[in-house]
């Protein structure tokens, strides 16, 4: 970020300089990555028991720089590197959470979280239940996930279904810069363990967001809760696109193109897969009568499948057409040169919209 005071006349008063600096900050577009970084920093300030660790998160600031500057600012006891072992990272975080800390840990990439799966499925998810509520695990496992960035094999998996399928885990995935900040703060403050999926392709996306104001709103409990509340990303009346994470921007693009053809699409951003907001999703589908679920993950036995099932169970009599899915194919994530064929595109979504039995 450029120095915000560089344009300020040295002769003006300090107060004016501060106001000018603040205004410059407010006008600065903020990246998704910076919002996450700021949320982590603010969580470290807010609670002494917050600790951050993982592979390369210290001196380097993480391979995606999400923990950039945290070790320098807060010291190596608050943000530190661990040996290269994912099960060890999660297992140690469990013990630290049992003993009063709030660990926020990073799995370097989606597919590199798999070695930790036993710790997550057998202990992170079950400790509260196994101890009849006596031991809670307030911990966050951050996972950069999904494709669209030209990543090589093992770096682009959409693995959310494994975690969403496991009772006892909350699963969050933000799609906007504002939500990146708010949802990470909520995840860290949650008494339950949260798997926090960060769409890699959004790390560099920018929005005009005043992070300072957002932080004040969050800490004063003025910000609306994101957990369990889907967001209506775009209002519409003809059909509903239900989506989350990396696919929200694609759905928004499709809705914009459809509008040019006179079709009004509502876009729902799920935000938290667990807990799931049936109410918002179903209210939208009952209103529009048509729905398509869009997700980047392979479609077979997926989160998208679950959403389709829930919608048809609850909204059957409001439906004018079968609920469709536009998802990744049931193939291992393709090489960078071929990933565009696998990713749900706006065109593929519009093709599905065409199939929603408009003539009936």
């Amino acid at each position: 970020m450029t120095a915000t005071t560089s344009h300020v006349n040295p002769n003006v008063s300090d107060a004016t300089a501060r106001a000018a600096a603040k205004a410059a900050t407010q006008n600065q577009p903020v990246t998704f990555g910076k919002a996450l970084n700021t949320a982590l920093a603010d969580a470290l300030v807010a609670n002494d028991s917050t600790v951050i660790f993982g592979e390369d998160v210290g001196t380097l600031g993480g391979v995606f720089r999400i923990t950039d500057g945290l070790t320098a600012r807060f010291g190596s006891e608050r943000c530190f590197d661990t040996p290269l072992a994912e099960s060890g990272i999660v297992g140690m975080a469990i013990g630290m959470a049992m003993n009063g800390m709030r660990p926020v840990i990073e799995m370097q990439f989606d597919a590199f979280a798999y070695p930790a799966f036993e710790q997550i499925a057998s202990h992170v998810a079950k400790m509260h239940n196994r101890t009849r509520g006596k031991v809670d695990l307030p911990m966050v496992i951050r996972i950069p996930y999904a494709g669209g960035v030209g990543g090589v094999e093992h770096h682009c998996d959409s693995s959310e279904a494994y975690y969403a399928h496991t009772p006892g885990l909350k699963v969050f995935t933000p799609a906007t810069v504002k939500d990146a900040y708010l949802m990470l703060r909520e995840a860290i403050d949650s008494p339950d363990p949260v798997i926090f999926f960060e769409p890699k392709k959004l790390y560099w996306s920018k929005e005009q967001v005043d992070l300072q104001a957002l932080a004040s709103d969050y800490e004063a409990k003025r910000a609306a809760t994101t957990e369990g509340t889907a967001r209506i990303a775009r209002a519409g009346s003809d059909a509903t696109l239900i989506t989350y994470g990396p696919s929200v921007s694609t759905a928004m693009e499709a809705a914009k193109l459809a509008a040019e053809e006179g079709i009004s699409l509502e876009v729902i951003d799920i935000r938290t897969i667990v807990p799931f907001d049936d109410e918002t999703v179903c209210a939208s589908v009952r209103k529009t009568g048509r729905a398509i679920v869009v997700a980047e993950a392979q479609g077979f036995v997926s989160v998208a499948s679950e959403i389709v099932a829930r919608v048809q169970e609850r909204c059957f009599h409001s439906l004018a057409a079968p609920v469709l899915r536009v998802t990744g194919f049931d193939i291992p994530y393709p090489a960078p040169t071929l990933e565009k064929y696998n990713l749900p595109s706006a065109e593929r979504i519009l093709d599905a919209v065409d199939q929603l039995q408009w003539e009936a």
Binding site: V51, G91, N99, G133, K134, P275
Partner: protein, 387 residues
């Protein structure tokens, strides 16, 4: 940065003992063994001790406390096995023959220290102070661990092998960051040392210099597979040097040696010398659980050999010969053991009676909408059944 500090720690503690860092980390040439199988004290030259691996005898009072817990542990093991045979408990992995290890693992700890047990460590959990019926909760087919881990500083008995060692590492790490002097004993068996989490736990503990004692009960079998098929290491204690920590071997049926070795390990860890790995040589006298048939994989003659090495009779003989175990003292211990056995019999005679609706209560801190719907569905089913 951390490597230098780590070498400093190992070199300063070994210098204190007047030995090389290698000799500090490698186990003594022989396992530490203070009592013969007949309960007589071994010659000092025959105890396995050597410079830097010295083990003064525990005090008589310490030994009497430990023997009391040992006798209770044996009674509890045998009572539980009987309850399983009578169909009053679902399953019980008995530590019959390993009670000396169990007792030492808990008694070496001080208030505020944590224990991370496995499913076969019920006697250690009991010795740590958890109420008898609470310890056995999961073995009667309940869905929860039965006790509040934070009230006893004792983790739930872990079924997935060695996963709990990492939790012990985390508890020690959190304590260290807060400047607390907490020591953790994290337990596992010989077969479990093959698991990946064993490696990750030892490595993390060593790298972060945490006061964790990894206590391996080498009872020679992982269900049916013998140690020779688990590891080609010279001994399990030798694995310590690969992580930059000290290892030691001890006779796991010799309560006196176990108390000496575990207390010293806890002291070294508490003084900031990092983790230690202790391997106790013992034997699983009974099958893996009541569902296992050990005749399919081991000879009865092998089991018979270990009867002579029994930890309870050995300790009893020593205390008796030393004039420490009066008839009155023994009677008190027996009375205490019988009282606990009766508690277990009475407790197991009552149904657990956990309401089915509670299945939904602790999945999260507060119920999601979906769980509330499912709870209502089950309640409705049950109401119709009753009607």
């Amino acid at each position: 940065m951390s490597t230098e500090a780590h070498e400093d720690r190992i070199s300063s503690v070994s210098k204190k003992f007047g030995i090389t860092p290698e000799d500090y980390m490698l186990p003594a040439r022989h396992m530490i063994n203070l009592l013969n199988v007949d309960g007589s004290l071994r010659e000092e030259s025959d105890q396995g001790t050597e410079p830097g691996h010295e083990y003064p005898l525990p005090s008589p009072a310490e030994l009497m406390d430990a023997y009391s817990a040992l006798a209770v542990g044996r009674r509890v093991n045998d009572q539980n096995s009987a309850l399983v045979r009578q169909g009053r408990m679902a399953v019980y992995p008995s530590s019959h023959g390993q009670e000396a290890c169990q007792v030492a693992a808990a008694l070496c700890l001080e208030e505020g220290d944590w224990l991370f047990p496995t499913y076969r460590d019920t006697v250690a959990v009991l010795t740590k102070g958890v109420a008898p019926m609470e310890v056995m909760t999961s073995f009667r087919g309940e869905w929860h661990c039965g006790y509040d881990p934070k009230a006893y500083n004792c983790a739930p008995m872990s079924t997935p092998l060695t996963t709990q060692l990492l939790h012990g590492v985390g508890v020690a790490h959190a304590a260290k960051l807060r400047g607390e002097n907490t020591v953790v004993v994290a337990m596992c068996g010989d077969g479990a040392t093959s698991e990946g989490d064993f490696h990750e736990a030892l490595n993390f503990a060593a790298v972060f210099k945490l006061p964790v004692i990894f206590f391996v009960q080498n009872n020679k079998y992982a269900i049916s597979v013998p140690l020779s098929q688990q590891s080609a290491a010279p001994s399990l204690a030798h694995k310590a040097v690969g992580y930059g920590m000290a290892g030691e071997r001890v006779d796991g049926n010799d309560l006196m040696a176990l108390m000496a070795v575990m207390r010293r390990a806890v002291r070294l860890a508490r003084e900031g010398n990092g983790p230690l790995l202790i391997e106790a040589h013992t034997y699983r006298m009974q099958a893996h659980t009541n569902a296992d048939d050990d005749k399919r994989y081991r000879e009865d003659s092998e089991v018979q050999e270990w009867i002579a090495k029994d930890p309870v009779t050995r300790m009893h003989a020593y205390l008796d010969d030393a004039g420490l175990l009066t008839e009155e003292a023994q009677a008190k211990i027996t009375e205490r053991a019988e009282a606990i056995a009766k508690k277990l019999r009475d407790g197991m005679n009552q149904d657990a009676n956990t309401p089915p609706s509670e299945l939904f209560e602790h999945v999260f801190a507060s119920k999601t909408t979906q769980l509330a719907e499912q709870q209502a569905l089950l309640a409705d089913e049950l109401a119709r059944e009753e009607a």
